[in-house]
């Protein structure tokens, strides 16, 4: 497992994805995810793909898995609100391990009321669907939680959801 010691969280994420042979990175853009999006786009190891909507991304990741390619789906908490049906009727019903990396808006200093309530659906929806979910709050935990979650998802054929907390990323602050 990669060591987290002197690296920034995005570097640890990218390293851990590579160590687990996660080659397809599908994303819907988000500001906190910029270093991850730039990272997968710059590295030929990854096939980076910008989807128009999170549901679509679930379909792409599901197809890739069934074709033998591991993937990660990166989105914002508001985007998670677009995908419960795709998770329930595709990823969960068909036992497809899709790893969701979710940038957390709506908490710890959120300035946009439109983000607050949508972010609160993530944990209850995951719980309702039986999808393991964790918040990643500390740099030292990034490699362990992501590495183990990918391995468990693959071994148990289940999606997994990881929320990147502002405690880890700094979050997005009001720019005026």
């Amino acid at each position: 497992m990669p060591s987290a010691s002197d690296k920034a969280w995005p570097d640890v994420v990218l390293e851990t994805l590579k160590a687990n042979d996660v080659r397809l990175a599908v994303y819907v853009p988000d500001k906190i995810l910029i270093p991850l999006i730039d990272g997968v786009r710059a590295d030929p190891f990854f096939t980076a793909l910008c989807a128009t909507r999170e549901e679509e991304a679930v379909g792409i990741c599901a197809g890739a898995w069934m074709g033998g390619m591991r993937s990660v789906l990166m989105m914002q908490t508001s985007g998670f609100g677009n995908i419960p049906n795709a998770l329930a009727s595709l990823a969960v019903a068909y036992q497809i391990p899709i790893v969701l990396l979710i940038s957390e808006r709506g908490a710890l200093g959120e300035f946009n009321a439109g983000q607050v309530w949508s972010s609160r659906v993530v944990a209850p929806v995951c719980t309702a669907l039986g999808i393991p979910h964790h918040a990643i709050e500390r740099l030292d935990d990034v490699a362990f939680i992501l590495d183990r979650s990918i391995k468990q998802a693959v071994a148990t054929q289940s999606p997994a959801a990881l929320v990147l907390s502002p405690l880890l990323t700094g979050g997005k602050v009001f720019a005026g």
Binding site: G68, Q95, V154
Partner: protein
Amino acid sequence: MQRIVLMRRLAGMLRDEAVVGGIGNTNFDLFAAGHRPQNFYMLGSMGLAFPIALGVALAQPQRRVIGIEGDGSLLMNLGCLATIGMVAPPNLTLIVMDNASYQITGGQPSASAATADFVAVARGAGIARSDWSQDPDDFIRLVDAALQSSGPALIGARIDEAPAAGQPARDPAQIRDRFMQAMGARKDFGAP
């Protein structure tokens, strides 16, 4: 045109292509035309047949992949055409079975009964090789041409509302497992 007639003609020309059938009558008639393990049948996730097919196409660049979607389903997710146009997978063929209605929920007219033209939308999304088929022979000619050439293609088929001729068993784990074995991807299972 009749969906089952087109599906039977299509099934007759397939070899090892992966085929992803959208929910409802689309995958019912894909199944009824002759089950093959390279077929993936959707049970929900309306609108995701083309994205799933894109994912398979990305994972298996050496294999031809066909996505088949209904008009109501595609209307739910038109954005995927822009993604496919942008990615331009050389091995992906898209088929739209357009009966201009939500047949399975009672035949309510869809937007394609009025104004929406999927071939025009697909061309606008960057899928230059997009055509309406005029009859079953033309349909097969277009599919065959798409499978022989490099780049994404979309073939539209205006069909009637004949009921589907059969249905696959609604067993998602079995559908997925058989499909993955046919894709040669089953080896990716197991403990890390």
